[in-house]
């Protein structure tokens, strides 16, 4: 089916936690929101994407989970063409079942948490493993217990999202994504909807996750997090990757004028 050497060995190993984008373009109507995006994220790398609103950073992240589709370009998640399979002349959309399977290996955390309000925290976390992976309720339940403890919420399993604070909801959302045992975690402005007081608790959970060697792509406005935790930093503006490099280096000595003026305003 494919000429890609990456996929050829990707079939044997479960997945490898890498992201590769080459020449990605995406338009909404006549508005081009992603222009020739090239990036490579290694396994276990923490990559922060920063930039002004409307710069396409969220769209790029959503493309990585199939919530948006790219128009042209190569997008490989976990070393495998994502959402499409390659033939001689074209990329063909994969079946919904295959796409769902690919998605189970990528975790997503949303700005608005998007917990299922009709389920308890515990049910939210077990929803993925039980309903999608068909694992048995008992082991999924045990795992949910561990995950809740990991995010500092043990004992909150029976609470409904509406009974939890924003910070707690976001931590449950992280646990929910982790329950699927993904190789890559995507964070779409995970702390933007929280009060300043609660931001720290979510960032602490993310920091802990980073230490465990999870590949993480984080769209964020938290420069402090980027400086402390991130390996690489991508600055986007107007649909383009303007600057990309070591996180601390870029934040301290931005090369591009646009990056400089942005960082001056937010730091």
């Amino acid at each position: 089916m494919t000429t890609s050497p990456v996929l050829a060995n990707g079939g044997t190993v479960a997945c490898d936690g890498t992201v590769l984008a080459r020449g990605i373009e995406k338009s909404f109507g006549s508005k081009k929101v992603l222009k020739n995006i090239n990036l490579e994220i290694a396994s276990g790398e923490i990559c922060c994407i920063i930039g002004p609103s409307g710069s396409g950073k969220s769209t790029l992240l959503r493309c990585m989970n199939g919530l948006e589709t790219v128009d042209t370009g190569v997008l490989k998640m976990n070393g495998e063409d994502f959402g499409y399979y390659e033939t001689e002349h074209a990329y063909h959309a994969v079946s919904r079942k295959k796409l769902a399977e690919q998605r189970t290996r990528i975790g997503m955390v949303f700005q608005q948490f998007n917990l299922f309000p009709n389920m308890t925290a515990h049910q939210n976390i077990t929803a993925g493993p039980v309903l999608v992976k068909r694992s048995d309720k008992e082991s999924a339940g045990r795992r949910a217990h561990e995950l809740l403890a990991d995010v500092g919420l043990s004992g909150f399993g029976d609470y409904y999202p509406a009974q939890l604070s924003g910070g707690q909801q976001q931590r449950v959302a992280i646990a929910r994504a982790l329950a699927m045992e993904p190789q890559i975690m995507l964070f779409d402005e995970p702390t933007s909807a929280l009060d300043p007081e609660k931001v720290g608790e979510v960032l602490a959970v993310m920091q802990g996750l980073a230490k465990k060697g999870m590949t993480m792509v984080v769209v964020t406005h938290e420069m402090g997090f980027a400086r402390e935790v991130a390996d690489s930093l991508i600055f986007m503006d107007d649909g383009c990757v303007v600057e990309r490099g070591d996180a601390r280096q870029v934040l301290a000595h931005p090369q591009e004028a646009r990056t400089k003026s942005f960082l001056q305003k937010v730091l």
Partner: protein, 308 residues
């Protein structure tokens, strides 16, 4: 009075403390006038209704619990329940089809809904009753085999079958729109969250969308039940002996038209009122504030695991 106000004291007119006095609503002259008019009109109507001998309240009382009327009432209730249940099921299917990403499926449901909502239900009922004129013989069979059974459509389309088919198909179109409205009330983020977990569309519908759409679907469905109860009176044109037809059969014999129509109306009114009560409970239960936390949620207490 004026001098007291200017002195800054509340008043010496009464001996109660100002903070204990109730605050009264302002009543305008219009309010008093409206009360007077209402009472006068109500009294007039009541007087006229009770004294006009043509109402024949004794006849009303005599037929109110008559066996054929009660049998008609039972049939009306049965028709309501059956066509509501079937209509809701079919409506759910149509709503799912309507929100399908596959164009021909969505369009099929769209055409169905447009057609059945765009024509009067009375016309539809008569149409189904006379469907034999279009297709006199129906053959049920398995294609490409010899196994088939011819069915006489005229015999099949008994009045009651036509009534149930007509009401069900019509109701399905309305229920489809109600259910679809409920679906679209579920946030986009919920669907994205389910997608990002890799949920299939069936699981997503069953576990995420339908449970969250219920609060907006159920009260509207309650309204439809009440509406359907009255709509069943239309099937009297097919000769189905439901409540209205039962009354008509009686006054065709004894010419007590008005009293028997009053009997039927009273029964419709009673049943509507009886149904309105659970409907108002449902509406209260599924209002916005109650919908955020499911009823089975346990009370907020410090979780036992927090100190661990």
């Amino acid at each position: 009075m004026q001098s007291l106000v200017s002195e800054g004291k509340e008043t010496t007119m009464s001996h109660t403390d100002g903070i204990l006095k109730p605050r009264l609503r302002r009543r305008s002259a219009l309010e008093y006038a409206a009360w007077c008019v209402c009472i006068l009109v109500a009294a007039g109507i009541l007087f006229s209704v009770s004294t006009n001998p043509n109402f024949k309240w004794d006849v009303v009382a005599q037929y109110f619990t008559q066996e054929s009327i009660l049998r008609g009432l039972v049939l009306t209730i049965t028709l309501t329940v059956v066509s509501m249940a079937l209509g809701t099921l079919l409506g759910l299917g149509l709503a799912i089809m309507r929100s399908s990403r596959i164009k021909p499926i969505a369009a099929t449901a769209g055409v169905y809904i447009t057609f059945f909502r765009g024509t009067p239900v009375l016309v539809q009922l008569i149409f189904w009753f006379n469907i034999a004129a279009l297709y006199p013989n129906l053959t049920v069979g398995i294609p490409f085999t010899n196994i088939q059974q011819a069915v006489d459509v005229n015999a099949l389309m008994a009045p009651i079958t036509a009534a149930i088919i007509g009401l069900t198909l019509n109701e399905a179109a309305y229920m489809a729109e109600i259910i679809r409205g409920g679906f679209s009330s579920v946030g986009k983020g919920q669907i994205e969250a389910a997608d990002s977990l890799g949920m299939g569309s069936f699981t997503k519908m069953r576990k995420i969308i339908i449970p969250q759409a219920m609060p907006s679907i159920i009260p509207a469905t309650g309204n439809q039940v009440i509406g359907m109860f009255k709509e069943t009176s239309l099937v009297s044109v097919l000769g189905v002996a439901e409540l209205l037809q039962s009354a008509q059969l009686i006054y065709a014999r004894n010419y007590q038209t008005i009293p028997l129509l009053i009997v039927a109306s009273l029964w419709y009114l009673v049943m509507t009122l009886v149904l309105s009560y659970p409907q108002s409970l449902l509406e209260k239960k599924y209002n916005r504030s109650a919908a955020t936390i499911p009823r089975k949620a346990r009370k907020l207490t410090a979780p036992e695991g927090i100190s661990r």
